[in-house]
């Protein structure tokens, strides 16, 4: 696809950003959920979220209306896929919105076989447990796997093509904040395999198993995190989860080694990492600083001045804008907050404007405030 002049210019913002150079203005990243776009476009979550076409139509409308530099939504959770699989790890709440309840895919006495061959254990034991349709086994189970497989690749193909087209037509960047997505080995072990509760006990009762299981997951994380189009600009998104809930000595032994090796593995393959630093990671800033140069960190919490000082000369920063105030504060107060953060974080480059959380639902913000802040950043963010 031949890219338009506007899109090439917007792409240049991100190329400069990720290369550690000062772009001509601050790029604006978007981490809105497709559920927000569906509601914004007037669709009903309960029914329309199952249609890829209507999701794409909604994302296109939001991308046209909100002045970000990339396609507006992250469309990473596919309700139709979870429906096909009978998934228990992503299920809709009463109003249709998809959530991740606590699941336990791996029993405590299965650690050894998992460490020996994680892929086989996931295939034989974990998937049938987490996905009810696969759990039926036999022909029914295999049918669910085949349907899910084809549905996944068809969906991904459609989204990839449509995202490129809408970006190009609307002058947005063709680089997505989420070029691929794969969690750290420890987070996969806790969030999909052992559960939050299970891992919290394992960390104390059998740390050596946790350590070995995280190491065993590293090659799988890298396999999922590097796609054919992945590169320094089409980056892999890593949403961090469990680090802040651990003591530092457990973090250092159990979380950090496979996390660091994972990001280094991406770097070695020429793939950049966009990391969502969920919750409060202020006590781990020195660890984060050790990751390969020009890693992007989207922070949820923390003192912007301290973060800039510790990470801002080696890495790329985004996030920290408190999304919640877009609902509760006046337009001017919202703009003032953007100015405050830009003044702290933007000097010298290595900064993209972004919110502290993903924008999940229409009701999370006052849309006029959101638009006002984005317009302000585009103007005020010129270097």
């Amino acid at each position: 696809m031949e890219l338009s002049k506007e899109t090439l210019q917007t792409n240049k913002l991100f190329e400069d950003l990720y290369d550690g150079k000062q772009p001509r203005r601050i790029p604006i990243v978007s981490t809105a959920d497709n559920a927000f776009c569906l509601e914004y476009a007037g669709f009903n979550l309960k029914t329309e979220q199952y249609s890829v076409d209507e999701n794409l139509e909604a994302i296109r409308k939001a991308t046209a209306d909100f002045d970000c530099d990339a396609v507006f939504a992250l469309y990473a959770r596919f309700p139709h896929l979870y429906k096909i699989l009978g998934s228990t790890n992503f299920v809709p709440g009463a109003d249709g919105f998809l959530q991740h309840p606590e699941v336990c895919g791996l029993e405590v006495d299965e650690y050894d076989e998992f460490i020996e061959d994680p892929l086989k254990t996931i295939w034989d034991k974990v998937l049938p447990r987490i996905h009810k349709e696969i759990g039926k086994g036999g022909f029914e189970g295999q049918k669910a796997v085949s349907k899910a497989y084809h549905s996944f690749y068809e969906t991904m193909g459609k989204i990839g093509m449509a995202s490129m087209q809408m970006a190009n037509e609307l002058g947005r960047s063709t680089y997505s904040f989420v070029g691929a997505i794969s969690s750290t080995p420890f987070d996969v072990l806790s969030d999909q395999l052992r559960s939050f509760t299970g891992i919290s006990a394992d960390v104390r009762r059998r740390p050596e198993k946790v350590e070995a299981a995280a190491a065993a997951l590293l090659p799988l994380a890298l396999k999922a995190g590097i796609l054919p189009h992945s590169n320094h600009y089409n980056r892999t998104f890593i949403p961090l989860h469990m680090g802040p809930y651990l003591r530092e000595k457990d973090f250092a032994r159990l979380y950090w080694p496979s996390f660091k090796a994972y990001v280094e593995g991406l770097d070695k393959a020429g793939v950049g990492a966009n990391i969502f630093v969920e919750q409060d990671w202020m006590r781990y800033l020195d660890y984060l600083n050790e990751l390969p140069q020009n890693t992007t960190f989207m922070f949820e919490y923390g003192d912007p001045a301290v973060i800039k000082e510790k990470l801002g000369t080696r890495h790329i920063l985004t996030g920290l804008y408190p999304l919640g105030i877009l609902k509760t504060h006046t337009k001017q107060e919202c703009i003032d907050q953007a100015k405050f953060l830009i003044d702290k974080l933007a000097p010298g480059g290595r900064y993209a404007f972004g919110f502290d959380k993903c924008l999940l639902r229409l009701n999370d913000v006052n849309v006029d405030n959101l638009k006002a802040v984005l317009s302000f950043v585009k103007e005020y963010g010129k270097y």
Partner: protein, 209 residues
């Protein structure tokens, strides 16, 4: 003779093997029910230490979850010597995650810490409709109602639920907890207190009874 202070400290240190060993040994001495209740009290005091260390930033959420597991395990060891009689509860808390939200980890942490502090907790689960809170609140007449949520949408659900409760004349103290909860959200919702910290939440409840 069980060293209750040692038991409290070991539980506070989350030394699982030692706690269980102490209690198993204690059970073999055929203790009276009063002594067994004192052992329960010592474990609960240990949970108080866990809460304090969490507030000081020495323990983290993973430690709170493990502490809850350890306390359950400890009480299970003591069950054979506890007898049928139970000590009177400090008060009753009706607890649930509000409608639209399926998260329960924070709620469960608060539940185990409140139980350890002597409350009777009636946990009505996740994605709980406002009407369900109202019906259960009327049935139990609990002094305190706790509402939990993780997603931002929980704020609106909490508001609905508080309005429904007040409209039906339920005057229990209401505490809200979870990631999206702030002072402003608390005012908007009309709850009596808010917290993002389970240990602090328990203290607030203790001050109410």
């Amino acid at each position: 003779m069980l060293d209750y202070k040692l038991l409290t400290q070991t539980l506070g240190d989350l030394e699982e093997e030692q706690v269980i060993e102490l209690l198993k040994e204690f059970v073999t001495t055929d203790p009276s029910e009063a002594e067994a209740l004192e052992a329960v009290g010592a474990c609960q005091a240990g949970m108080g230490i866990v809460g304090d260390l969490f507030e000081k930033g020495e323990y983290f959420v993973g430690d709170l979850i493990f502490a809850g597991e350890l306390l359950t395990e400890a009480i299970n060891v003591l069950k054979p010597v506890l007898g049928a009689g139970t000590s009177s509860a400090l008060g009753t808390i009706l607890l649930g995650t509000v409608h639209g939200d399926l998260h329960d980890i924070g709620k469960n942490i608060f539940r185990s810490m409140s139980e350890a502090a002597g409350f009777e907790v009636v946990d009505i689960g996740i994605d709980v409709a406002a009407e369900e809170f109202v019906a259960k609140a009327k049935e139990l007449n609990s002094q305190i109602i706790g509402m939990s949520g993780v997603l931002t949408l929980a704020i609106d659900s909490m508001k609905d639920t508080v309005e429904a409760l007040r409209l039906e004349g339920v005057d229990s103290k209401i505490i809200i907890g979870g990631n999206p909860v702030t002072k402003e959200a608390c005012d908007l919702i009309g709850a009596d207190a808010f917290t993002v910290n389970a240990a602090e939440g328990v203290k607030i409840c203790q001050n109410w009874v």
